[in-house]
């Protein structure tokens, strides 16, 4: 919540002016019954037509000035709300970009998107309404009371009574309904989850003939929701009638009391009319205030959620001071010594005790089943994650003492899931190296076996790429992501199972091209397929996060059970895999 104030600080003057002008508008509104009273008391009583016309001129003036003030206030509050929210959105976006991969995965993409869109919209709306109404409504309520005191102190005591009763009513009803609104939101959320789960599982549910059970489960959920809504509705349905009764009985009482005051000669007939008008104004504003409170109650959780995200540590990885040894000319050798890592911070390691020396310019193959820790190991190498134990260094320098920028220059990474960004092929290729020329891009595309289809596209390298690259086939996308990693000639090239969608002929050509790269980078090849890693200088075999084998293909074939298993399952000999 409080963080919103820091954003409003920048708009301090406007944020003060908006409610101030609203207040001025309210004052002008509060003057109207007084003018009317004097029309009745002086104008009608003494049959003074000129006075009446003059006073109605005052009424017109009040209306016009009120409009000007009101428009000014609306402008300032919209301005503050919109631009403060835009800044919050910008900072939150920057925050999300700075989150570490671990934190991001823990929170989840959808949640992050909701925070930056819906939650901030709620905040924007709330700021706007607060600036407009939060001062105005109480001001009118109290202002009307004060005006009543000016007219007649004794009659005004009824105002105190009515305002007291009204506040109590609103308070009690809010107290009962607000927590129930939370329950309703939670139950609606359940309906939402049930629906999307059901859609995801359409095939399985049908295969298991679960229709009736699903239907009953869903109806129970909507039933719970509806019964809570109806029971809450019963209470909130009271708000309007009860406040109406309170104010109007107040008016009845007021008329009765003022009758005595008029009879005693303390006030005039016009004053009675003014008092009644003030009482009616209170009702209108109180209802507005109650609606505002409901709106705020919805916005508070949004603000809290945004703040929670804002306060999250951007990067919980450890960074050492740069040793200054970082040279422009990196060889690209990687050393891992006793590296362990677990996602949840326990001793149940996802990657455990890996020691590895990858000489510059050599090829390392990493093989293992799904969930064996291959991708995690890669993420430890470029410091996406901090090793829980042990050290990862590049050319003898601890990765913790390198900046993310330095690391990103060193590494060219092709992720498992081939995904591009909307824009053009060129804008995708120049993400890392913005000044890469067309020739350099084409060279990278050529190595990645992508040049042919890119040039066949209308616009060539300037051809459009839609979101996530969905206008390219899986295989094309994969080749484009490979080319993207090659631009800038990184010292270390990482391919995380990134040829899975390619046909065998293309894959072979690609492998050949990668092995003969002119700048001789260190290459790390991850795969589930033995055929992809067989030619590597050394092969690391992972199982359940542990290294169960390290050596060349022929060495492993002799010594490593797991490697043999994998290999013979994929290249069956007569005796393999049949037992």
């Amino acid at each position: 919540m409080s963080f919103i104030l820091t954003y409003l600080k920048k708009y301090k003057i406007r944020a003060i002016l908006a409610p101030l002008f609203k207040m001025l508008e309210a004052i002008f509104e509060l003057l109207v019954p007084l003018v009317m009273a004097s029309i009745i008391n002086k104008g009608i009583a003494s049959s003074d037509t000129h006075y009446i016309i003059r006073m109605s001129g005052v009424l017109l003036l009040l209306a016009v000035v009120g409009l000007v003030f009101s428009l000014t206030a609306q402008y300032f509050s919209a301005n503050v709300a919109v631009y403060a929210a835009a800044e919050i959105r910008r900072d939150l976006f920057a925050k999300i970009l700075s989150l570490s991969q671990g934190t991001k995965e823990k929170i989840g993409d959808e949640v992050l998107t909701t925070r930056i869109t819906n939650d901030i919209n709620q905040i924007q709306n709330a700021i706007n309404m607060v600036l407009r109404l939060f001062l105005r409504s109480p001001f009118i309520v109290f202002g009307a009371t004060i005006m009543a005191f000016i007219v007649d102190v004794k009659s005004a005591l009824i105002f105190l009574l009515v305002v007291g009763v009204l506040s109590l009513i609103v308070f009690i009803i809010m107290k009962y309904t607000l927590p129930r609104y939370k329950t309703i939101a939670a139950r609606l959320e359940k309906v939402l989850h049930a629906t999307s789960e059901n859609l995801e599982g359409a095939r399985v549910l049908r295969a298991f003939n679960q229709v009736d059970k699903e239907k009953k489960g869903f109806e129970a959920k909507t039933g719970e929701l509806a019964s809570m809504q109806i029971s809450t509705g019963k209470i909130s349905a009271l708000l309007n009638p009860v406040t109406y009764v309170a104010v109007n009985l107040g008016i009845v009482l007021l008329i009765y009391v003022s009758m005595r005051r008029v009879d005693g000669g303390y006030i005039l007939q016009g004053d009675v009319v003014a008092l009644v008008n003030y009482m009616s104004q209170i009702l209108v504003e109180l209802i507005k205030l109650a609606n505002l409170i409901v709106l705020l109650m919805k916005a508070f959780p949004s603000a809290d959620r945004v703040q929670e995200l804002m306060e999250m540590k951007s990067d919980e990885r450890m960074h050492l001071n740069s040793t200054g040894n970082m040279q422009n000319e990196n060889a690209g050798s990687i050393q891992l010594s006793n590296v362990s890592f677990s996602y949840n911070g326990t001793n149940d390691y996802d990657v455990e005790d890996i020691t590895l020396d990858i000489p510059a310019g050599s090829v390392l193959g990493v093989i293992g089943g799904t969930g064996s820790g291959k991708s995690t190991l890669l993420k430890l190498m470029n410091h996406t994650y901090d090793a829980s134990k042990g050290q990862v260094s590049i050319d003898g320098i601890d990765v913790k003492s390198m900046t993310d920028g330095e690391l990103s220059n060193l590494f060219g990474i092709v992720p498992q899931k081939a995904s591009l960004f909307s824009g053009t092929i060129k804008s995708n290729m120049t993400m890392k190296k913005q000044d890469a020329g067309d020739e350099e891009i084409k060279a990278a595309l050529n190595i990645a076996q992508a040049l042919d289809f890119v040039e066949a596209k209308e616009g060539g390298i300037n051809a459009e790429v839609s979101g996530k690259g969905t206008n390219f086939s899986g295989g094309q996308r994969q080749r484009l992501t490979i080319a993207r990693a090659l631009v800038g000639q990184p010292r270390i090239l990482v391919l995380d199972d990134s040829a899975s969608a390619l046909d065998l002929a293309t894959e072979a050509k690609l492998r050949k091209a990668l092995h003969s790269l002119p700048w001789k980078p260190t290459i790390i090849l991850v795969s589930q397929r033995a055929s992809s890693v067989m030619d590597a200088d050394q092969i690391l075999v992972l199982e359940d996060g542990k290294a169960v084998g390290l050596g060349t293909h022929s060495q492993l074939l002799e010594s490593c059970d797991t490697y043999q298993e994998i290999y013979y399952c994929q290249f069956p000999r007569e005796e393999a895999c049949n037992e």
């Binding site: 037509t49 009101s70 301005n79 930056i116 095939r203 039933g223 509806a226 290249f571």
Partner: protein, 580 residues
């Protein structure tokens, strides 16, 4: 939405509401009473004021009389308003629930092609938010509209009763107020459209950047991404500013006109009062009407937009409720299935303008294993879709034990197949409930035995509440492989006469796969089985191998036959072998 379709939907909505006609009737009566009673109050107040002229000029008896009537009127208003609110709540929430339930039931029977081709988020938002918007907008909008119109008519009537001349001033000024509101709302509509468009662009950019965040970090692209975002964000803020500000001018502007009317009524009323044409109390009532007169106009113009919005939501819900369902007309049952399957000259394609499966003929004898092989995305799952009748053939027929599968009820057909898919899906329920899906009456002992056979028991036991641990669909702590093991266990608990295994072990590591091999063999024994797999060892053992390419079966036969044929399969097989 055009006028014609709008009225069609409106008709449909009215039919929907028939069940609630009594409640709606009550609601309308209450609305009518509330409006009448509320409008009586200013008159009574005016009469009361007329009783209090000056010291000594007080009509005490009449005043008490008037105040008594006022009190009764207020009390009556309380009840009519309260009943109206409650009845409206009741209708709103019941209609929402009924629409949601029906749309959900529809999801269970909707054609799979619709489920597959439609973004799931859209269905979810129809069931969740459209249902809400519809009920809120329609029913609340309707009552507001109804009371609004009644209030306007009532106010005019009461004003005419007090003074025709002054009433005419108010009525003549009405169009000005309406025109102004219309002018502003047309302007803002444009700005809101602009805002929605820019917001959409920004949201998709955000989604893209979040999902590709890891790549962005690897590329050190954060600053550029932020720069692009700032541009979009600034544009959005400017559009948003316009929309927010202009829409907020409606109330002050109409209030201005209202205040002008108020002043006019004040002048004319007061001058008339001097001549005795109207009492001070009458003027008070009049001023009270004049100050509330414009309110319903504002509300009505708001209601119309809301109403159109509600109709649009209703249209989306009805579209879902009316969606085509799976054809389920079969009545034949096969008590004891042997598992003989025939495809006779089957034609099928997802997109009817693109050919896919043509002239597919296939004969699977009882207990045979059929392996489906081919590159990713070639359409291996299509055959499974046809077998389970997730999709129906375009021409030709599929027979199980000589019976056309369309002559079987869907429930009967599907209960004959055990299915494990590559994409694991588990319910957000306990492990036990998930496994029981296959056999609702399974005992704990049976469940544990099945889990032991698939080597799932050990990790289930290690979960916080063992078999009672709730598997949350989001952020589950289970690995893909473990989830797949659970899916296999689910089928193992109650093995139907025929099996479909679509990459059923793709996420399970080689070790575990070998460990559960015996369970698998036992499961498949004597049962007709369709296997989609890429491991050659699994494929070689199959009785029939289907090679699928670009959606059609290009080769079929046993391993040996296909090797001799020297076609696609042989090429695939050798390409993997020769690397040795």
């Amino acid at each position: 939405m055009n006028k014609k379709s709008q009225s069609r939907i409106l008709n449909r909505v009215l039919i929907e509401l028939k069940t609630y006609s009594f409640k709606i009737f009550i609601s309308l009566i209450c609305a009518l009473a509330t409006v009448y009673l509320t409008l009586r109050i200013p008159i009574l107040t005016g009469q009361a004021v007329d009783c209090i002229v000056a010291p000594g000029q007080i009509d005490y008896d009449r005043l008490i009389q008037v105040l008594k009537i006022m009190t009764v009127t207020i009390a009556a208003t309380f009840f009519t308003q309260w009943i109206m609110n409650r009845v409206n709540n009741d209708i709103t929430y019941s209609v929402t629930k009924s629409l949601r339930d029906r749309a959900f039931v529809k999801l269970q029977h909707m054609k799979l092609s619709t489920v597959d081709s439609h973004p799931h988020g859209d269905f979810v938002s129809r069931i969740v938010s459209d249902a809400d918007t519809f009920a809120d907008g329609l029913l609340m909008g309707f009552t507001q509209f109804f009371t609004g119109v009644l209030t306007i008519l009532g106010t005019i009537y009461f004003m005419l009763m007090i003074s025709v001349k002054i009433a005419l001033i108010v009525i003549i000024a009405t169009p000005a107020s309406l025109l102004l509101a219309k002018f502003i709302s047309e302007k803002t509509y444009k700005f809101f459209g602009e805002q929605a468009k820019l917001r959409g662009t920004e949201t998709s950019y955000i989604e893209e950047m979040i999902s590709g965040k890891n790549i962005i970090r690897n590329m050190d692209y954060e600053d550029d991404a932020l720069e692009r975002f700032e541009l979009m964000n600034d544009r959005l803020a400017d559009a948003s500013m316009k929309a927010t500000f202009y829409s907020s001018t409606v109330n002050p502007s109409t209030r201005l006109i209202n205040n002008i009317i108020y002043a006019a009524v004040g002048v004319f009323g007061a001058i008339m009062a001097i001549g005795g044409g109207i009492t001070v109390g009458g003027l008070t009532s009049f001023l009270s009407y004049a100050s509330t007169y414009a309110k319903p106009f504002n509300e009505i113009s708001g209601v119309i937009t809301e109403f159109q919005n509600a109709l649009a939501c209703a249209a989306r819900l009805f579209e879902m409720i009316d969606a085509e369902v799976e054809v389920d007309e079969g009545e034949t049952t096969i008590p004891e299935v042997d598992g003989e399957i025939q495809f006779n000259d089957v034609f099928f394609s997802y997109d009817k303008s693109k050919k896919l499966i043509e002239h597919l003929n296939l004969n699977v004898k009882s207990g045979q294993r059929v392996a489906i092989v081919g590159p990713t995305g070639a359409g291996k799952s299509t055959i499974i879709n046809l077998l389970m009748r997730f999709y129906d053939v375009d021409a030709g027929e599929i027979l199980v034990d000589g019976v056309d599968i369309r002559d079987l009820s869907l429930e009967d057909l599907r209960s004959k197949f055990g299915m494990v898919l590559q994409e694991t899906w588990l319910k957000n329920a306990s492990v036990r409930d998930n496994l029981r899906m296959a056999k609702p009456d399974a005992t704990d002992q049976e469940i544990i035995e099945a889990a032991k056979a698939t080597h799932a028991h050990s990790f289930i036991k290690r979960m916080p509440y063992g078999y009672d641990t709730i598997l949350s669909s989001v952020g589950g702590s289970l690995s893909q492989g473990q989830m797949q093991l659970l899916c296999i266990t689910r089928v193992m608990l109650n093995i139907p006469p025929m099996l479909i295994l679509d990459e059923a072990t793709s996420s399970i590591d080689t070790r575990t796969e070998q460990k559960i091999q015996s369970a698998f063999n036992k499961m498949m024994k004597g049962r007709t089985t369709f296997i989609v797999a890429h491991r050659l060892s699994t494929i070689r053992e199959a009785d029939v191998i289907l090679f699928v390419k670009d959606g059609s079966i290009v080769e079929q036969g046993s391993h040996v036959e296909l090797l001799q044929k020297n076609g696609f399969y042989a090429k695939l097989y050798r390409s993997q072998i020769e690397n040795c």
